[in-house]
């Protein structure tokens, strides 16, 4: 028992959310008689949810900064239809279409960011207006029609890595990516530990670190195996690669850069942030703009997956993204939340959806179950906080973002001994 405790940072609840996800996967794996963890299904899971998860990345930053964005679904739809029309009518190549979409997202984001940051209208209202505005623009521009996109654009939402090199029975590029990731994780883990030790921080014993890295590596390798051995012509899907890239990028931005710190600072206490020299208006503007760019990207990926852009694309996406963020431990009041947590929250919803579909549970019952899960996850978090226990969020952000920084464990062990000073 003590060994397990040490492994998970003195506290088995630390990975509560990840455990919930793993438990869910195992549950469905058993219930569906092994269909859940197959190459095909994992690809479905990624392809069918990548755009929601991409929205969740932008949304968590918006929510950390203390805002909300209700317009992302409509923006995705508007960008999607504009790009589809531009490609069809102006004969743009696919990459020019993507650039146009991102630029349009940036312009829309600047529009919303201007009202939120510089005029001071609550984001709830600005983006509620945006939700109607851009939905209407989508249907106006597209005349409520469904506009198809060419094959090469579809690669964005439904493509796979090419098969190169010798026929090994695996998708070679996927295998290489997997191995490179494992190498990276192990080196970074060990180097972080060494550096922390040099600075005189308390580090966990070597076996703890080793087991941890071994577990993470095993998980990556298993996923690599599944993705590399799907139907010929398939691999880690392109939306999945985009998503992983964005998670790493935004995870880094939010936890390791000055702008990331500023987002948390503005959401945590805007006045204190301003008095520390943070330009909160600029931060708010950038967060809203970034969200719209990601919404544009999500819209284009969905159009690629759907082979066409339609008048009701993106309906309710904002709510799926917001749900993912809150399941992932963000606080309504801002200042709290992590990119990784939100992705896990989104995956919990995605696995639930997928598993229930595999079991043939109807859409009505699925909605009911998802609603209850959202409520339960947040209630659990709130209950824990009210009991003075660290929240899932806290555990998550520490557990995941400092995984290559072992002194965190020692600190948390010590933390348990500190009273909540009255």
């Amino acid at each position: 028992m003590n060994a397990i405790k040490q492994l998970f940072g003195g506290n088995t609840r630390q990975f509560g959310m990840i455990f919930a996800l793993v438990a869910l996967v195992v549950f469905f794996q058993i219930m569906t008689e092994g269909v859940t963890l197959t190459s095909g299904n994992l690809m479905n899971l990624l392809n069918g949810n990548a755009y929601i998860l991409i929205l969740a990345i932008g949304m968590v930053l918006v929510i950390i900064a203390g805002h909300i964005d209700l317009s992302v679904g409509s923006i995705a739809a508007f960008v999607g239809i504009t790009v589809a029309l531009a490609i069809r009518d102006w004969d743009l190549p696919w990459w020019a279409g993507v650039l146009l979409g991102l630029a349009l997202g940036a312009v829309i984001g600047a529009w919303q960011g201007f009202w939120v940051a510089y005029i001071g209208i609550p984001a709830f209202i600005v983006t509620l207006a945006g939700m109607m505005l851009f939905r209407g623009l989508n249907q106006f521009v597209g005349k409520s029609n469904t506009i198809p996109v060419p094959e090469d654009f579809q690669y964005l939402g439904a493509g796979y890595l090419p098969e190169i090199g010798p026929n090994t029975g695996y998708n070679n590029l996927t295998v290489l990516l997997g191995l490179a990731t494992v190498a990276l994780v192990v080196t970074m883990g060990l180097r972080g530990r060494a550096k922390a030790a040099r600075l005189g921080a308390v580090v966990a014993p070597m076996w703890v670190q080793a087991t941890k890295l071994a577990l993470i590596s095993a998980a990556i390798l298993y996923a690599t195996y599944l993705f590399a051995t799907g139907r010929p012509g398939t691999s880690l899907p392109i939306p999945g690669i985009i998503l992983i890239g964005l998670v790493l990028f935004y995870g880094f931005i939010s936890s390791r850069t000055v702008i990331g710190r500023h987002i948390y600072a503005v959401g945590g206490n805007r006045h204190a942030a301003e008095l520390s020299g943070v330009r909160s208006k600029k931060v708010n503007f950038m967060v809203m703009m970034n969200m719209a760019i990601l919404a544009g990207l999500a819209g284009m990926i969905f159009v690629g997956r759907s082979t066409a852009s339609g008048p009701s694309d993106g309906m309710m996406w904002e709510l799926d993204a917001i749900a993912a963020v809150f399941i992932g431990g963000a606080a309504v009041t801002g200042g709290v939340g992590t990119v990784v947590g939100s992705i896990i929250g989104g995956l919990v919803m995605a696995v639930l959806n997928n598993g229930l579909q595999l079991l043939g549970v109807g859409a009505d019952a699925t909605q009911i179950i998802k609603g209850l899960v959202l409520l339960a996850a947040v209630a659990f978090d709130v209950y824990n906080k009210s009991q003075g226990k660290p929240s899932i969020t806290g555990m998550l952000s520490r557990g995941l973002l400092t995984k290559n920084k072992p002194q965190a464990e020692a600190v948390e062990a010590a933390e348990d001994k500190i009273p909540t000073r009255a």
Binding site: Q139, S144, A158, Y170, L179, R231, F302, S312, D313
Partner: protein, 367 residues
């Protein structure tokens, strides 16, 4: 890749080679993929996927029950799903059906243009695709289409409107309004075009007058087939164009749900009941026709459609050639889809009893 040193590159190649030797990679291609399953047939207990759109009308609920029953009776495992969450949900449902190894997937699409990649994956996994009620567009991965003849439905609706006006509203000219279905449903335009095929000459010669001036499909659409949207639009038109004692004689409505919404709106405005067309034979509308309120509906017996779809699945299972009766009309943009079309029937108060005499639900009501 550029940053990889020679040594790492070597290591990677070695690793892949080693993996290849272990032989636990993927099975070599084409064990079951791509094969035309219609020729070969498949297991009798196979899974059959049925992906239906949103639960917006009684007909779809009925179709769900019938598919579940008929497919099970025939010995198949039925997986019938509604996509209340929209296109994205339907895509995921079709993917899940593929994962479960469905041999035939019957698709009633929300938007027939947005399922290309899922259908492609389904074909590659060896499934046969039947478009149900709504054609799947811009994809080569659809094998059959089974539906009622929708252009015909439109024509019948247009004709019924004209007949009704002549019968009840004296001599023309008549003022009418047009309602169309949801723009993301490929059939909506077909219904509308069919109806206009009959009505347009009469509008041109002045017999019919569209009071609001909203004559195009884009102006007449009802987003998502939602009753509330149709009702709101009618409310606006009535206030704007039919103030005072101006009369509204007729409304072209593509289905029963919208027909009742339009009637509600007219009633609220205190106008005399106009001639209103419909479609789908919904219980409430059939009652309304009996009472002489709604003028007509279309009997596209869902039972017959589901029955035929099920018989197609049975034929596929046994490897038989499928019967089709239209190999020319349904060009989906990529290919001409072989179709089996059922004949729709117009129902007014005059023939309501005969029309539903064999219907277990509507039969008793109309007696």
């Amino acid at each position: 890749m550029k940053i990889m040193g020679k040594a790492t590159k070597f290591a990677a190649v070695t690793a892949i080679a080693a993996l290849a030797l272990t032989g636990c990679g993927r099975q070599d291609a084409n064990t079951d993929a791509g094969a035309e399953s219609s020729a070969a047939g498949f297991d009798q207990g196979a899974t059959i996927g049925v992906a239906l759109p949103q639960k917006t009308s009684e007909n779809w609920v009925l179709a769900e029950n019938l598919f579940n029953k008929d497919l099970k009776d025939a010995g198949f495992k039925a997986d019938v799903q509604f996509a209340n969450g929209g296109v994205a949900e339907q895509q995921n449902q079709i993917n899940a059906m593929i994962t479960k190894g469905a041999k035939v997937i019957i698709v009633g699409a929300i938007d027939g243009k947005q399922l290309g990649n899922q259908l492609k994956a389904a074909k590659e996994a060896g499934a046969t695709i039947i478009a149900y009620d709504r054609l799947l567009l811009n994809t080569k991965d659809v094998d059959y289409y089974v539906a009622y003849d929708n252009f015909k439905v439109g024509q019948l609706q247009g004709q019924a409107l004209l007949d009704g006006l002549k019968e009840k509203k004296g001599n023309g000219p008549y003022s009418i309004e047009l309602l169309a279905g949801s723009p993301d449903d490929a059939n909506a335009k077909v219904f509308f075009d069919g109806a206009m095929d009959v009505l347009q000459p009469k509008i041109d010669d002045g017999t019919l007058k569209v009071g609001s001036g909203q004559k195009t499909f884009e102006q007449a659409v009802t987003q998502g087939w939602k009753a509330e949207n149709a009702q709101k639009r009618m409310d606006t038109i009535l206030t704007g164009n039919y103030s005072g004692s101006k009369k509204l004689d007729g409304i072209l409505s593509p289905n029963d749900t919208l027909a009742r919404a339009a009637l509600t709106s007219v009633k609220a405005a205190g106008k005399e009941t106009p001639i209103v067309t419909g479609q789908d034979s919904e219980v409430e509308s059939v009652k309304s026709i009996m009472k002489g309120v709604q003028y007509s509906t279309i009997n596209k017996d869902t039972r017959a459609l589901v029955e035929h779809a099920t018989s197609m699945v049975k034929d596929l299972q046994q490897g038989k050639e499928l019967e089709v009766n239209d190999t020319e009309s349904y060009d989906n943009g990529v290919k001409t889809v072989p179709a089996y079309l059922l004949e729709p029937q117009i129902v007014t108060k005059a023939n309501v009893k005969e029309a539903y005499v064999n219907d277990p639900v509507l039969g008793p009501i109309t007696k």
